[in-house]
Amino acid sequence: MELFFYAIVIQFLSVIVIGFLQDNRKASIVTHSLLAVGLLLGFIASFTPLVYSNFPTQNFYFFGIPNNLFRFDTLALYFLCIIQLVAIPLTLYSYPYFKHYIEKGKKVRSTLVFYTLMLVSTQLLVTSNHSILFLIFWEVMSLSAYLGMIFEKEKEEVQNGSFYYFVMSHIVVYLLFIFFFLLHHQTKSWLFSDFHLSPETGSLFIIAYALSLTAFGMKAGFMPFHFWLPRAHPIAPTVFSAFLSGIIIKTGIYGILRTFQFLNPTPEWLGWLMLAVSMISAIFGVWYALAQHDIKKLLAYHSVENIGIIGIGIGIGFIGSAYHSLPIQVLGFGGALLHTLNHAIFKSLLFMGSGVIYQNLGTRNIELMGGLVHRSKYFVMLFLIGSIAISGIPPLNGFISEFVIYNGFFITARVLKNYYPLIMLLSAVGLAFVGGLAVACFTKINSIMFLGSERKEVKHFNVSFYEYLSLGMLALLCIVIGFYPQPFIGIVNKVLTDGFVPATSSSELLNINWSYISLIFGLILFTFVLVYLWKRTFQKKYGRRTADAWGCGYKNLTPRMQYTASSFADELNEISKSVLVYHKNSKPSKKIFPPKEYFESHSEDLVDNKLVLRGYWKFNSVISKIEFLSYTDLRYYIAFILIILTLYSVIAFLWN
C-alpha cells in the first residue's frame, strides 16, 4: 500500500511544480504528465489487492509502523479504483481542454492546482479511517471543486451556480460534524473501524441515520436536495463537472454505505424510505432532464436519476438487512455498487463529450446544434455508446447493473412473500418507466445534437487525439463491462463479502447466469454483423443512392424546419406540467399574412423555485430586519463583539 502513497506524492508534486513554473503551457504539460503517472501508479496500487488478494490488508503500515489513519478495506479500494478509472481519462482529456484556454490567453495555473487538489483529496477521502481526517479531505475536496468551478467567474450564472454549491457543501459539512461527534460520543473513538452502533441505542441510532442520510444524500443529490446539481454542473468547466458528476456525488453514496457499516442492521422503514426517495429521484430526475435544452443541465438531471437507481439498490439492501436476508442484501448492495461504477464511467464519458461540443460550438443549447455526425462520425459513435449505456439498454454496462437491481426486486418478492411481491412489482414498473423516459431523453439529445443537418453553421469541429483517447477508453469500459461482466461481478462480490454481508457464501450475485448473458450479447453482435454484411451485398447488387427527404412535394427544406428538442419532448412535458413548472409562451397571430411569431418554452425546478428560492427570500427578509445594526465603521463591530463577549462571560459566570 506504500505504492499508493508514493502515487499520491507524485500527483501532489504537480502542485509544487506549478508554483515554480510561471508559463501556463509548461505548467499544464508538467501537471498533466505528473498526474497521469501518479494516477496510473495509484490505480495499480489499488487494483492489484482488490483483484488478487482474498482479503486485502486491512490496516496500513507506514514503513513498518502500524497506522490507523488510513485503512484499505475492499470498499475503500473499490471506490479508489472507480475514482482512478475516471480520473485517468479525465486527466488525458483535461490537457487539450486547458490548452484551448491557454491559447486564448487565460490563466489556468490556479485552476490546475485546484484540479490536482480535488483528485488527491478525493482519493485520500475514501481511504481515510479517521473521522477528522475524513472531514478535512471532504472539505478540501468540496472547496477545490468550488474554486475550480468559478473558472469563468466573470459570468453571472457562474457566480449564482457556484454559490448554490458552496452553501450546500457547507450545510453538508456541518451535518457531518454533528454526525461524527455523535458517533465519537457513543463509541469513544474517532476511527471508522471502531464505529459501531446497534439499533438498541434507540433514538440516537435514528438521529445518526437522519444526519448521515441528509448530509450524504445532499452530496449525492437525492430528490429534495438535488437542486444544486443542475445549477452547479452546467457552469463548471467540463473537467470539473465530469468529475463532480462522475465521482464527487458518488462520495455521498460512499458515505451512505459506510454509515450502513457503522449502523446495522437497519430498521425496515428506513429501507422503505430509501426506496421511496430513490424512486422519486429516479423518475422525476429523468423527467426534468427531458425538458432541458442545456446539454450539461440535462446531464446533471440524469445524475439525479442514476443516483436514484443506485439508491433503489441501497434501499433493497436495507430491507434485506432488516430481515437478515443475505440474498436480498447481496443483490441490493451489489446492484448499487455496480451501478456506481457504471454511472461513473458513462456519465464522465457524456460530460466530456458535451465539453468537446461546447468548446467547438461555443454553446450548450442543443437547439442550436445538429448535423455534427457529418463532421465527426467517430465522436458521435462514442457519445452514442455512452447514451445507450446510460439508458440501460443491452448489450452495454448500464443494463448489467439494472439487471442486478431487477433481480433484487425478484428475490425480495420471493424471500419475503406477504405483501412484498406487490411493492416490488410497483418498483419494477417504476424502474421500467425510468428506462423508457431515459430512452426518450437520450434519443432526443442524440438526434437533435448530431443528426439531421446543421441548425447553426458550424465553423469548425475538431476532436483532438487526447479527446478521442479519453472518450474511447471510457466507451471501451462500457462495452467490456456489458459483454463480459464476470470479473466486475466478482470484484463487487468480494467487496460485499468483506464489508457488508456477514456470511461467506454470498453467491446470489454470482449465481445469475452471467456467461449465458454474455453469450446472448455475443449472439446479438454476431447476428448484427451477419445481417449487416448480408444487407450490404444486397445493396451492392441492387444499388444505393441518396436523395432529398420527402417533404410533401416541397423542395426548399431548410435546417430550421427540422424537428426541435422542445417539440420532441413536448408531449411528455405537457403531462407533467404541474410538477415540472413547464412554461410555454407564444404570441400566435391571426392575420392572413402573419408577421414574425414568437414562441418559447422552458422548465423550472419545483424544489428550487418553490422551496429553496422562496425560503431564501423569506430568510433574507427576516434577516434584513436587523439591518439597522449594519454600519460602515469597523469600530462599531468591535464594540458589538465586546458587548457579546461580556454578555457571554456574565452568563457563564452566573451559570456556575
Binding site: 455526425v373 458521435v380 459513435m381 445507450i388 439508458s391 440501460g392 439498454i393 443491452p394 443494463f399 439494472e402 431487477y406 433481480n407 425478484f410 418478492a413 420471493r414 405483501y419 411481491p421 406487490l422 412489482l425 419494477a428 414498473v429 421500467a432 418507466f433 428506462g435 423508457g436 423516459l437 430512452v439 434519443t443 432526443k444 438526434s447 443528426l451 439531421g452 443537418s453 447466469n513 448473458i517 446472448i520 446479438i524 447476428t527 448484427f528 445481417v531 449487416y532 444487407k535 444486397f538 445493396q539 441492387y542 444505393r544 443512392r545 441518396t546 436523395a547 432529398d548 427527404a549 420527402w550 417533404g551 427540422q562 424537428y563 417539440s567 420532441f568 419532448a569 408531449e571 411528455l572
Partner: protein
Amino acid sequence: MLQGIISILSILTLAPMFAGLVNKLKAIFTGRIGAPILQPYFDLYRLLRKETINAGSSSFVSAISPVINLVAVVIAAAMLPIGLAHPVISFDGDIILFAYVLGLARFFQILAAMDIGSSFEGMGAAREAAFAIFAEPIFFFTLGSIAFMSGLTSIYDIYHSIRLDNVTYIIFIVVCSTSAFILAITECSRMPVDDPNTHLELTMIHEVMILDNSGVDLFLYQYSSYIKLFIYAILETSFFYPFGVKSYTVGIVIFVVVIAILSVTLAVVETVTARFKMKNIPQYLLFATAIGILNLLIYTFTK
C-alpha cells in the same frame, strides 16, 4: 434445443403470414376481397430487389438501425415459447432482457427516424418515444405480475406456472390477456393507436418513421415489424396453454386456434374502431395500466 430452433424458425417464417391473415380478415369484414394472405411475402420479396435510397442528410445511424431492429426482434422472439416447446434463449431473468432488447430496437428506430432531418419523421419519433414510456409499465404489470407472484423470472417458467384449475387464475388470465392485447396494439402500431394503412403523414406513428426508407432497409423494417406483431400475438396465446395436458400436439393445436381467434379479434377491432386523437392515446394507455393494477387487487384480495 431442437424444439427451440424449430419454434424460432417458424416464428421467422410465419410472422408475415399472420399480418397477411389479419389484413385479409379485415378486408372481408369491410366487404372487400382483399389481398391474398401471402401478400406480405410478395411485398417483402419485391422490396428486397429494389434500390436503396437514403435521405441526403442521413448518416451511419440510418445504415445500422434496420439491422439492429431485426436482430433485436429476432433475439426477443427466441425467448418466447411456442406450444409447449422450450425456447432457444431461456434463463432466469430473461423477462427483463426481453423488455430491454425491444428497447434497443426502439432506441435505434427513433434515432434513424430523426436521422432523416425531416419534421415528419420527427413527429413519428416523438410519438413513438412518448407512447413507449406508457407501454413499458403495461408489460411489467401483466407478465411481471405473474413473475412476482410465482417467484419465477424466465418467460417459459412464468407461463408454465399458470394453472387454470384455480378460479382466481382464470380471472387473472382474462385481465392479463386484455392488457397484453392493448400492449400489442400500441407496440405494433395498430388501430386504434395508429393506423397502418393511412395516407396522411401527419397522423402516423410507425409508418412515418420509415417513410424515407426503401429497398433492403425497408425490407428489414417491415420484416421486423411483422415479427414484432407475431411476438405480441405469441405473448397473448401463451396465456392459454396450461389446460393440464402436457403434450406437444395439444400445445400446437391450442397455439393455432388462439392465433386464429386473435387475428379475428384484431381484424374486428380494426374494423369497428377509428383511430384515437393523438392526445387521447396516453389516457388509453393509462387505462391499460389501470387494468394491470387490477391484477394487483385480485392478488391482494385472494391472499
